[in-house]
């Protein structure tokens, strides 16, 4: 089983559909394709925002995400994984990031996509700042995201801060 995978950090917008489509094109072993798209909302904590700006740690961001992808491929029978994450200024309605997972069966594709999202949220070195009417503020990390990531650590956990 060959697993194709792609991790990309970029300033430019991407087309989630095109990227996900590449995971199934020209092959007939994929039975399930799960695509998650994170979209910039027009409000944060009930207050309207004009935009968000994503800061990241170049080099570490790619390396860290590639580690989660490698672990996902080890855990589930995946045929393809794509992770794209933007940085820079993003306005409401634009896509921030995407994860796509392809497998023969749906459980693996769903589990891997959720696993990747949970780790991305809590461990990938990105920070969101939002532009509100009264200035720019850094978004607080959510405890619920830590809890979500911890559920995968029962059997592995080597990507938690060591």
């Amino acid at each position: 089983m060959t697993t194709t995978f792609l991790v990309r950090i970029q300033r430019e917008p991407f087309d989630a559909a095109t990227e996900a489509g590449k995971l199934t094109r020209g092959r007939t072993d994929v039975g399930a394709l799960v695509t998650f798209t994170g979209v910039c909302r027009g409000a944060e904590a009930s207050e309207p925002i004009a935009a968000l700006t994503l800061e990241h740690y170049p080099g570490m961001a790619e390396a860290e995400i590639e580690r989660y992808v490698a672990e996902a491929i080890e855990r589930w029978p995946l045929l393809g994984v794509t992770v794209i994450h933007r940085h820079g200024r993003i306005v409401p309605g634009e896509d921030i990031m995407m994860v796509a997972t392809a497998s023969s069966h749906r459980q693996a594709a769903f589990a891997a996509a959720e696993f990747l999202m949970d780790y991305l949220k809590t461990c990938a070195p990105f920070w969101k700042q939002v532009e509100k009417a009264d200035g720019k503020i850094w978004v607080d990390a959510k405890t619920t995201d830590d809890v979500a990531a911890e559920r995968w650590a029962v059997t592995a956990g080597r990507h938690a801060a060591e």
Binding site: Y57, M117, L120
Partner: protein
Amino acid sequence: MTIKLRYFAWVRERVGKPDEDIEVPSGVATVGELMVWLASRGEEYAHAFGNPKVIRAAIDRSHVKPQTPIGKASEIAFFPPMTGG
């Protein structure tokens, strides 16, 4: 020993610079001890590192805990909890 420090998000804003090279003083062996020492370097550092519990760290681009020894690190980064995705 010279180490490159990198700061991100509000840690960077409070310190007032994205990175700097420092000499690790003797007696500072762990990442946590380094944060305590950094907090003593002036008002902006005290503001950034005054509450080290809310700061995460990475040595050479891998997450580490406060008790991790600095060892032969060439780059140590400090930043708030991640909020990507």
